[in-house]
């Protein structure tokens, strides 16, 4: 570089300083502090004695936290599994249909992706209007076509509330798997599948045995995105069921539980919620790494 290094360091500080300060103060320090908080007992906002792993033990082992954490965690798992099943299979199906019938592809892609411009909170309120028992268009539509038996309080019935949340979430994000799978499908040469069909395989079999293995990297990417999204969910569930997690806490998730312990919790709210935050971070980050690794190993070279 054309200028002297002593002067250069001053300029580095000048250019990088503002971003470094803001990022350190508002992102790095709070996260490090949350980790530090989790190792102390708290009396309200007064820090007590170092507690070692006691907060972690309490959150994961003591009544009522253990029960609530396990329940919320299980709901996150169901939410993830349901989203994989509904959103990503329908997304793959739509991508395949559009790949084989490119007429109007751009228009359909835009239409399908529209909902993800909207914030999850607004999507939640939008669907709470659609699904409202007495004045919602969904039940009104079912009655109009004579399916009165299917009308129900969609978000008020603990047995179906969580599956409904899965469907609403899938409605919002379906454009994401569709676009990722679409790009992956376009990159696979058509000859490979055609060769398999000529060899006597059915189109169905040719797809699953020839083309699908070749888009495994895309499957991995979608799985990871879905996992991280499903374990960080907050706004959508808040809008559909409130901060307590819907009827009978049937749609309570870790995000809501963290919020409740942190801001409506007892004396040791800071210690317990910080420990829960760290557990959530480790679970999401750890599982994401493992999933990434194992999917990468299953990729097929071609």
């Amino acid at each position: 570089m054309a200028f002297r290094s002593g002067r250069r360091l001053g300029w580095v500080a000048f250019f990088c300083g503002p971003a470094a300060v803001l990022y350190t103060v508002f992102v790095v320090v709070p996260l490090a502090t949350a980790l530090w908080y989790s190792f102390y007992g708290w009396q309200g906002t007064t820090r007590g004695a170092p507690a070692g792993m006691a907060n972690y033990a309490a959150v994961l082992g003591d009544y009522p936290y253990q029960e609530q954490v396990l329940k919320a965690f299980w709901h996150n798992v169901v939410f993830f599994a349901g989203t994989m099943l509904v959103q990503n299979t329908v997304g793959l199906g739509l991508a395949v249909l559009l790949h084989r019938n490119p007429r109007g592809k751009r228009m359909f892609q835009t239409l399908y992706s529209l909902p993800y411009l909207i914030s999850p909170l607004v999507v939640g309120y939008l669907w709470s209007m659609m699904l409202s028992p007495a004045f919602g268009p969904v039940n009104a539509g079912l009655q109009a076509v004579g399916l009165d038996g299917l009308t129900r309080p969609w978000l008020g019935d603990p047995a179906i509330a969580l599956p409904v949340v899965v469907l609403v979430n899938a409605w919002q994000w379906i454009g994401c798997p569709m676009l990722i799978f679409g790009a992956a499908l376009a990159a696979v040469p058509a000859e490979m599948e055609e060769a398999a069909v000529i060899d006597g395989a059915s189109a169905w079999k040719a797809f699953w045995q020839v083309r699908f293995p070749l888009i495994m990297p895309a499957v991995g990417a979608v799985t990871l995105l879905t996992f991280v999204g499903c374990f960080n969910v907050f706004d959508l569930v808040f809008a559909l069921g409130g901060s307590s997690g819907g009827p009978g806490q049937s749609m309570d998730v870790l995000g809501l539980l963290f919020y409740r312990i942190a801001f409506q919790g007892g004396v040791n709210a800071i210690g317990l919620s910080s420990a829960l935050a760290m557990v959530m971070f480790v679970v999401v980050f750890g599982v994401a790494l493992v999933v990434d690794r194992s999917l990468r190993r299953r990729e097929v070279p071609w």
């Binding site: 250069r8 803001l22 790095v28 739509l94 411009l117 935050a277």
Partner: protein, 277 residues
Amino acid sequence: MVSTAPRIGRAVGVQVLLWAYAGVAFGPLLLVLLGSLRGNREIMREPLGLPTSPTFENFGRAWANASLSTYLLNSVVITVAAVTLCTVISLMAAYPLARWRFTGRALLAAYFLSGLMLPIKLGVLPIFYMFQSMGLVDSRIGLTLLYAAGGIPFSVFILMAFLRGLPTDIEEAARIDGVGELRLFRSIVTPLSRPAIATVAVFQLAPTWNDFFFPLILLRSSEKYTIPVGLSRFFGEFSTDRGALYAGLVLAVLPLVVVFVMASRQVVAGLTAGIGR
């Protein structure tokens, strides 16, 4: 080979499927728009239907009585300020990180980029207490600084990738001509980075505009609420005024859709500029 008749049948079937899903994706949005134009009595009597006598009264109630106008204004101010601040300081940081050689460069870059994986929400309690000690609870400035800081890793990442690809000749020539560092940055680097700046700004816009978690916790007085918290309060208070609720949803979604339609060309240009090298 397959004969033509089943093939046409299959093509029609596929079109039907594609249009059916288009209805699923777009239908609810249409219903909200239609609902916002219908009177309350009409909605109660017939939840699913067309507006018989379209009215804008719902928008009036949502805009004024429910103070959505205030929330919208707050959202606009906070979003614009945060995205501007974030983009400016990220571009400043990305410039030496991408184009100069100095000791600790790689380390500093890694420090910024590590934020791409850190969920900032989990630090909310420390943020809350820090804000309390700085007098930033219930303050739009605090929220703006927080959003700007949260956007830095992503912005630095994109801008660094872009700046690395720019040719160095103009910069060298300007330096030989004795142009100062500050002017070089302002009059040469910044204009050249315009496509990447547009990308970064647009991609920061949506998460900042949509964020619900931080204003829910950090704001107290309703005259400072942004659209998402305002909307959650509005849905609690106006739960029986369904027309106004529909109108509120339209008002919450519209600004973002307008920005994206206007900026879509720049987004695509920025993305391909970043990838195409």
